[in-house]
């Protein structure tokens, strides 16, 4: 009787470990479902939206300008940030506001990306802490699944003027 129970327990633990490892591999290397909070990506992603994120493009260096990515926060490694890629390495970025008379540019260093939120007035992003290393990027968001009224692929950036094309 006891042996039967023990056997069943071990089998259960074994299955739990196996499925836990499969889940870990899937979330780290393939992708998963993410809930975003905060106002910095409005109107593209509102507070408490649920989106799909995939990690394959990070591994194959497929992140491009205009992608919305999830990255580790550079000041707090425990939390994640969700921003749009404005510039890759080598790009020229306008660091002052476009309405300023004296514009200043800076170049994104090698191995780094420049992130900005869509809600420029209410977003702490690379304008605040500088370009972040490419390795901090964890995945790319490409599909929104909640709220259902906004179901589908994500819109392009409302701040198209931020993308420099030189």
């Amino acid at each position: 009787m006891l042996r039967g129970v023990l056997g069943k327990t071990f089998r259960l633990v074994g299955y739990t470990i196996q499925y836990g490892c499969i889940a870990h591999c899937a979330f780290e290397y393939v992708g998963g479902v993410v809930m975003c909070s905060g106002p910095s990506m409005e109107p593209t992603i509102q507070n408490s939206d649920i989106v799909f994120a995939e990690n394959l493009s990070r591994h194959f260096y497929g992140i491009q300008r205009g992608d919305i990515v999830i990255a580790k926060s550079p000041s707090d490694p425990k939390s994640n940030i969700c921003k749009r890629v404005i510039g890759l390495e080598g790009d020229k970025i306008l660091t002052t506001s476009p309405s300023d008379f004296f514009k200043s540019h800076s170049y994104v260093p090698m191995g780094h990306v420049w992130l900005e939120g869509d809600n420029l007035q209410n977003s702490t992003d690379s304008r605040c802490y500088g370009p972040i290393p490419y390795g901090l990027i964890r995945g790319r968001i490409f599909f929104k699944i909640w709220p259902l009224s906004d179901f589908g692929f994500l819109r392009a950036s409302p701040n198209g003027h931020r993308f420099s094309d030189d």
Binding site: G20, H24, E28, D76, P77, E89, M110, G111, Y134, G135
Partner: protein, 268 residues
Amino acid sequence: MAQSQGWVKRYIKAFCKGFFVAVPVAVTFLDRVACVARVEGASMQPSLNPGGSQSSDVVLLNHWKVRNFEVHRGDIVSLVLLTVTPSTRQQEIGGEEEEVEKDISLAKSPKNPEQKIIKRVIALEGDIVRTIGHKNRYVKVPRGHIWVEGDHHGHSFDSNSFGPCHICKDHSSHFYQVNSQRKKKRFRKRKKKMLLSLTQHYLLGTKASILVWRNDLKFTTKHFNCPGFATPGCFLWFIVVLGPRALRMFGESRLMSQRPSWQLSKSL
């Protein structure tokens, strides 16, 4: 004929079953618990690779120990750098790293995209470091960063070249406490000699960067969530060849987790 077909089918079934058990478990283990690496280069002499090119040390990278991002000053950690800025390559000496080609777009993968380097943590966030060869003489380590240096000053590509390092770079830095793993005979013989040379190196204070002022604020615990890019072959090697030895080494190799003596002395 039917029997051999049935045998093939059963074999494929068993293979798939085993595959979906073994690969995720192995990958998860190598990402979260521990993996094995070989140390090359001279930037951590005399602690690691004292023999130079004759013998490369094999080390156990302990992921589990730093799952909360709790690194201490004096720990030896392993980092992965993605690319190298051209201005900092001047500091490379001694063949520690291969030259990384400068690529403008990340669509073409650089020559050696994930270069792993092993260095010692000198300062944590908030500390002020006196640098060697950096553009600023004194650097305050910003929040979320650490300062790493190789033990072999001058022959090391470290924070003196690229500045403070992010404490977590997914695929860019993996922070593990390294437990040095050597052949049992040589380890015992060399342990005493190594302790002596470590002490001398740091107490003398020559060419060592010393903390000017340490920030003693309490740090909040951070959770480590950075995977590595693991290979199942590594796992098999670890289990079959080094498993029993590694278990014994856990007890013997506390040497590497001790803080160096310079940290204990308050002198500047």
